[in-house]
Symmetry: C2
Subunit: 542 residues, 2 copies
């Protein structure tokens, strides 16, 4: 009977999945995700570690084990798929970013963020591309086409600020947090748009009309993507407000918010827009209007469910990258020239350091010129932190590199193999080495956060948990009373010239109260939250 049972059991797998290996892989992957969460939690008090590095390390270790177990055949459980990344993992992360961001700080520093995210990324792109032309020609690694060179520039301009955001605290250093965070989102969008533009334009005869066209396209994408995101967010707010879901079903509200957010991302993809920007602005609008139209339990649920999805996606990505890094096929091709790969990686790392420095310090200087209050200026120490915060390269770089260098002949071509392995090296090195140094660096540079850092150590708290509770009362500081707290009563002219963004913010609030909130709901129209710390402020504002 034993044998028969075995055969019987072996057949049972057929129904659920045609491939038993994929079940094994999924099991291992889910188990590793659990392990990352538990180990990440246990290591939280550590001075150096964070969840990204833990996941990357576990991924690498698992990769080694699989490599040994399979006799050197393969190291990964799942093949790195761009679709998986761009369609399932990235949207929850970016949406949650928009949903949880402190909107006041984001919009106050909107111009600086755009300067860093768009212009800065372009500067970084230019420097990395020029550097690549200069150095790689000398190295005799094969003939890189102009398209490849520019693609390298775009690939290595895409920062990954997840590590830094896990260390920075939204409460203690709101300016810095909003700058690093905002830049990260705009940077992702910029480098992806840039990368696509490079792939699509005929670069053999580049002139000024193409450059203009390029800029026009960029502006078009940026504006339409934003409008689509805002529209989706407002639609969800209006629907939930009008249908009075709030009185009935938490599940429906949560489902609708989740589906609408995802729909906005997919619609952007459908119209060839930037899904990242769309879903980010959808998140902002949803947290400003929709979130206030739903029941109390829907608020708690969405707040934490979105954060959890984002958290799991992040860990998933780092685990994936760590595991994929050891894939033996790619390394086999460059076996004969390990020096070249190391050389290319070092050059790229150097270019990243220089390229980022080349825009952070000048643009900070420019930004400081427009600010009056010393409180709003970016100090040198803060500039160094911003510079450091964007040195890590992550999953976006990986995905773009795979897209560019695996299309023709996979990684069998020598040059492509070198570029892929160099990208992996840069991602691993920057995430692990730069990432490990971020916590100590932030403590040295920003002494005011040192106290809290030690406080965090004594009473261990997740960086997630410390940002999440802010959602419920972050609107306090958005009310008029809060925003006029440390304004030195500027004259009207100075107000318009010196600090235009604050003035815009002021008029926006008036418009919001007068026209938007009556239609789309929001804080002022939530009578069923008595005892909320928000309400008295609203009364004072009117």
């Amino acid at each position: 009977m034993a044998v028969d049972t075995g055969a019987f059991l072996a057949r049972l797998g057929m129904l659920t999945t045609s491939d038993h290996t994929s079940v094994v892989s999924m099991n291992l992957f889910v188990a590793l995700l659990c392990a990352c969460i538990v180990i990440g939690h246990l290591l939280e008090e550590s001075r150096w570690m964070n969840e990204s590095i833990t996941a990357l390390a576990i991924g690498l270790c698992t990769g080694i084990v699989i490599l040994l177990a399979s006799g050197g055949k393969s190291s990964h459980l799942l093949v790195f798929s761009e679709d998986l990344f761009f369609i399932y993992l990235l949207p929850p992360i970016i949406f949650n970013a928009g949903f949880q961001v402190k909107k006041k700080h984001f919009f106050r520093n909107f111009m600086t963020i755009m300067l860093f995210g768009a212009i800065g990324t372009l500067i970084s792109f230019a420097i990395i591309s020029l550097g690549a032309i200069h150095f790689f020609q000398k190295m005799n690694i094969g003939s890189l086409k102009i398209g490849d060179i520019l693609a390298i520039g775009a690939i290595f301009s895409a920062t990954d600020s997840v590590c830094t955001l896990q260390v920075l605290n939204q409460d203690e250093t709101p300016l810095l947090y909003s700058l690093v965070f905002g830049e990260g989102v705009v940077n992702d969008a910029t480098s992806i748009v840039l990368f696509n533009a490079i792939q699509s334009f005929d670069l053999s005869h580049f002139d000024s009309s193409i450059a203009l066209q390029f800029i026009g396209n960029f502006m078009y994408l940026f504006i339409t993507s934003t409008i689509l995101g805002v529209f989706a967010g407002l639609l969800s707010a209006y629907m939930i407000k009008k249908l009075y879901f709030g009185r009935h079903s938490t599940d429906r509200e949560v489902a609708l918010m989740m589906l609408m957010a995802y729909l906005s991302y997919m619609l952007a993809e459908l119209f060839y827009l930037s899904g990242i920007l769309t879903v980010f602005f959808c998140g902002i609008v949803m947290s400003h209007y929709t979130w206030h139209n739903v029941t109390e339990s829907s608020r708690v649920t969405t707040k934490h469910a979105f954060a959890t999805l984002s958290f799991v996606s992040e860990i998933f990505i780092f685990l994936y990258v760590g595991m994929d890094a050891l894939d033996i096929d790619k390394w086999r091709v460059i076996r004969d020239s390990p020096g070249k790969s190391v050389g290319v990686s070092s050059i790229l790392l150097g270019l990243i350091l220089v390229g980022r420095a080349a825009f952070v310090f000048p643009l900070s200087f420019l930004s400081n010129l427009t600010k009056n209050s010393p409180y709003e200026k970016v100090s040198l120490k803060q500039q160094v932190t911003i510079w450091w915060a964007g040195l890590m390269r992550g999953a976006v770089s990986m995905a773009l590199a795979y897209n560019q260098f695996t299309r023709s002949g996979h990684t069998q071509l020598h040059l492509n193999a070198i570029m892929i392995t160099s990208t992996i090296t840069v991602v691993l090195f920057s995430t692990v080495v730069f990432g490990l140094m971020t916590k100590p660096l932030v403590r040295i540079l920003l002494p005011q956060s040192k106290q809290t850092a030690s406080m965090i150590s004594s009473e261990p708290s997740s960086p997630k948990s410390s940002t999440v509770p802010l959602l419920s009362n972050r609107h306090d500081c958005e009310t008029g009373k809060g925003s006029q707290h440390h304004v030195p009563r500027p004259t009207s002219l100075r107000m318009l010239l010196g600090i235009p963004s604050r003035s815009v913010h002021h008029y926006w609030r008036k418009f919001d109260d007068a026209f938007m909130r009556p239609v789309f709901g929001g804080r002022g129209f939530v009578p069923f939250v008595p005892g909320s710390p928000i309400e008295p402020d609203v009364v004072q504002w009117h």
Copy 2:
């Protein structure tokens, strides 16, 4: 520039998905899901409709539109995939079922549920198989092998009680709800195990030793699956209790609960067990222990996030089935013999009606013999409701039918095409016609729920929302005080013979309090919920 921009935009799609058509499909599908939620909400007051039928109807309409738009080529956006169903959609539904079930009623009626779910399904399977042999031989539809006939029995024994559960109320008719619900879960597991057994056993020479082996396998699968689920649930409770996640991060807790539940399902699949049973018991254990070890916001989040996932999965399945039903390829093959398909469908529907009646009434009679209190007996009206509740056939039947009849030659073989189209007809007819009649029938048969039904109409409330809030205080009735409320103080002998399940329940509670809760946490060990309605009961119990 206009043309160039178009070309540029066309290229942009490349990065995110290789196939633009799939983006269109996903957009349409997500938009339809949103539409189902909104329309389902609007139609809730209706006497006839429910969410399943709404989704099915919208799916059918969309299918027709796509069919017309594509010029009769295809009707579906996504191909019906068993993997999608069994790996992504079914686990959240079953897990949530276990997580939200009223455990007291489930375990009190455990024997009756097992009787209905296991023995009843086997009776239904036997009758449908015998009926199929008898009728189909006369119809000259081709030579069905013994394996096909038995597979038909298993396919049409799998009930789909989602519709009924949307109508029944866990508070008003707890006995009925727990019977229908519990039977549904055990039935799913039984028919899938049965189906797999049929596919794997050599049925050409069937004798008593194979029958014994079959029963042995079934018991083995049932017990090991349950143990695995309980183990996964206890492990999660222990981990969260020991690591004190509760004090720190809601996101980590929620992520860990979600991942552990999914891991239990995948582990069961890995070991060729029944994932459905595993994840169901994992849900029960998690709601009994783990849920009490986490923070207040984690509780709210998990409660609603799991319910939302289950809700979306259900709608997804019905939408999918509705859309897939019109796939023209399948119908084209049977174009020349529409009468046969109608005949086969009618015979199958008849067999389902008879097969279910053949076990519900006798087994209810048997079950009533063991009960003393008239309150616990299943009245004839309730028996009719139970009979009706299991007449619908749904996604499990579809998935099994696709597995059996599309392996060899897809639907090109005449016989296979007839079986597939008949399955679709049975699923659509039973869900729509029987489903539409459920609400009125329940109102006629169970007059006590009539009042509430009209109350629901005047103040529209989701069936989901009415079950969900129970989770937070369902433990009131689980405490000793509640469970001894209407027990007629039986003598010790009568207690052991007459109502063994209650006695087991009593000893289980003692064991739980003495050994399980100190290790795995649970209600008694959550000091940070002051003012909870549960606490006084706990004090009384000790």
